[in-house]
Subunit: 232 residues, 2 copies
Amino acid sequence: MSDLKNDIRPLEPSTMTDLVESRLREYLKRKSFVPGDALPKEQELADALGVSRNVVREALSRLRMLGMIDTRKKRGMLLAQPDILGSLERVLDPLLLGKNTLKDIFELRLVLEMGLADLLYLRKTPEDIAALEDIVAREVNNQQKPFRVEHEIAFHGKLYQMTGNDTYMRFQKMLLPVFEYVLDFEMQANGQADVGEVTHRNLVEILKTGDSEDFRRGMKAHLKPHFDRLKV
Amino acid sequence: MSDLKNDIRPLEPSTMTDLVESRLREYLKRKSFVPGDALPKEQELADALGVSRNVVREALSRLRMLGMIDTRKKRGMLLAQPDILGSLERVLDPLLLGKNTLKDIFELRLVLEMGLADLLYLRKTPEDIAALEDIVAREVNNQQKPFRVEHEIAFHGKLYQMTGNDTYMRFQKMLLPVFEYVLDFEMQANGQADVGEVTHRNLVEILKTGDSEDFRRGMKAHLKPHFDRLKV
DNA sequence: ACCCTACAATATGTCCTACAAAAGGAATTA
DNA sequence: TAATTCCTTTTGTAGGACATATTGTAGGGT
């Protein structure tokens, strides 16, 4: 098992830019800045670190991408609150990822979907249910692919949103395209898509009358074809 | 509801570096390079884009950080497979995140834990169970905090590992520190930690004799104090 | 004919200088 | 006092220069 890779830290990055990036990150944490605080200017950082402004800028460029800092023309740089999913968004493209990672993400989405129930029952409102019924009602029996995908996203997306957890919702929505990609890929090889015995309509019904365990069982049945697809 | 932020694309980034980054990313996708392929040299990219090599380097620096490209001294740059969690790792620090995000991640971990069961039952082996029993056996009744946290990580970490899903495992392990941080924070305010009625030992027992639904119920009971803590 | 070594070619890594642009702050005027 | 103009400061961009490492190649030795 390649467990080692996770336990042992890969040796320190080599280029100055990498070092500066890590120093800066360390610096930001140590000084416990509050978002909005002004940071030293680029030249000062460069002098303090003993490198050129160029290297500092490359490192800062990375932190800026992660949303850790904000820069304004004359004010200098301000500490910001990173958008944790922003960086994921950039990388989470089916075309860029390896086969193993794609499989992992496919499973991860199933896990997230199965764990949904408790949050859902904690926060669902009658308005939410009404919205879901509306979505289900629009699901005509048109099972051609583009429509099916659209309905999937509408329905499950609404479920994520009902949790009131923005991070969870965004995360799931980012995972969906990867999920669909893997699905397409496997379907082309193995035949066409099966659909679970429990439909969206059934799930809504459970939401109205059942408890979180019922819902979880329903979701499991809904996703059963996907689980069956998983190789042991 | 700030749903808009997720539906509408924020306006195009302003600096050249941002533009170049997005152009490069687009270029990489469009040309559908295979990992290992050689990319044009920096100067060529700069010329083609009509910007200075400096700007190109800042953009490349970002992609390098995300693991999308690798550079060797004379070979030029090679396309690589990004490590999707690598970038998350950099940002997922309790001290850097906002209050809402911390709460979201706290919940996200619960969701992930609740969705664990199916993968677990698909892949668990007798050796895994033995390892779990070993871990539980070492859980002396020493409930002081540092030890408790260590046991938590050992036990739940093993569960993640048993799923055989590397991404899931790493993701969960990254979430744990944030989880503990929030827990500490709330405990200081509200009193001390309750512990669920179902213990690690019980969970192992269920793994041996029960099915995935039993396990899920057990996990829910195990995590009950945390769920109770969630505000509606 | 083969291997080893040394050198040249090349792409990235780093530094430096200079200037444009934007934005805050100060000074000036109504 | 309020509005306007100018100045200063800091980031953004450009371009040139050189160090460094690595690859490929040529040459020499066996």
